[in-house]
Symmetry: C2
Subunit: 150 residues, 2 copies
DNA sequence: TATTGTTATACTCTATAACTATA
DNA sequence: TATAGTTATAGAGTATAACAATA
């Protein structure tokens, strides 16, 4: 054996992510959303009141591109921006009621897509996958934001 | 409790995938690669001799965009295209020796990136994550290619 | 007629630099 | 001076239509 190839999770993550996005498109289109809209609403539900800078690192979307994205969501009445009283430079972003409702609709529709893409996994395997990804996501998020011990 | 939100794996997969890609950029740049190059080489190692149409569905890259991507890889001597004797419409694609070597280098460099992004997971958890993603990827791949019972 | 690879092209996503306002 | 948000713009990624060669 010449080479023990590294088990690169990245390549697999890429592949599955692409399949997921591909199959999600029709459902999202019918709701007038693109993938980044959905991702943003999803993260905002857990992290309501984040500043745009916080969102930028959470979503891994450049703050300069985030502006236009939030403009679209705000124009559709899905989110709200308000100035922070403590630091008037900041915009605190929150989901509106309409935003929550649309997010629910999207998740309902996408449940079927995930059932298809993750058809080879049983319920407990999917649960495990979810928990492992959450671990990774939270571990990273806590790095870039407040703490600097990474 | 009004709403039991679906545990959407997709959003997490998106987030972690973005973080991974973000942190991988510098390492890939120094090797003159972009993410899609790496993905393509990685998949080609397992599926040598795939046609471009096969690759298109495996990579979830439109066949029309795949052309230019393969042109770049071929110009760099990383892959080879040859006509299939059985069906002269097809190009069978394979890694060259240089392609394998560059892939190894990239994987070595990216191992450190993955160590960072998946720092919150121990060795056995990463192994589990890898296996679950592989299950999902292979389950989907076997759908779109040969069998049609999905 | 259908499929494989290809080109051209428009559209979306992403990254860089410079500006305004607050701190 | 540094940071949050914004604008403008160039580059990379993606999707659609049309074509030549082969089946």
């Amino acid at each position: 054996m010449i080479d023990q190839p590294a088990r690169r999770v990245g390549a697999l993550l890429d592949q599955v992510g692409r399949q997921l996005r591909q199959h999600s498109m029709p459902a999202l289109d019918s709701l007038g959303m693109r993938p980044r809209h959905l991702l943003t609403l999803t993260v905002l539900r857990d992290r309501a009141g984040s500043s745009q800078a916080d969102l930028s690192t959470l979503l891994q979307i450049d703050r300069t591109n985030l502006v236009g994205l939030l403009n679209e969501l705000e124009a559709d009445g899905l989110i709200e921006r308000r100035r922070s009283p403590e630091d008037r430079r900041r915009h605190l972003v929150e989901l509106t009621r309409d935003g929550r409702e649309l997010l629910s609709k999207a998740e309902f529709a996408l449940a079927f897509v995930e059932d298809h893409v993750f058809g080879a996994l049983d319920a407990s395997q999917r649960e495990t996958l979810y928990e492992l990804l959450q671990l990774a996501a939270n571990g990273e998020a806590s790095c870039s934001e407040l703490s600097s011990d990474c």
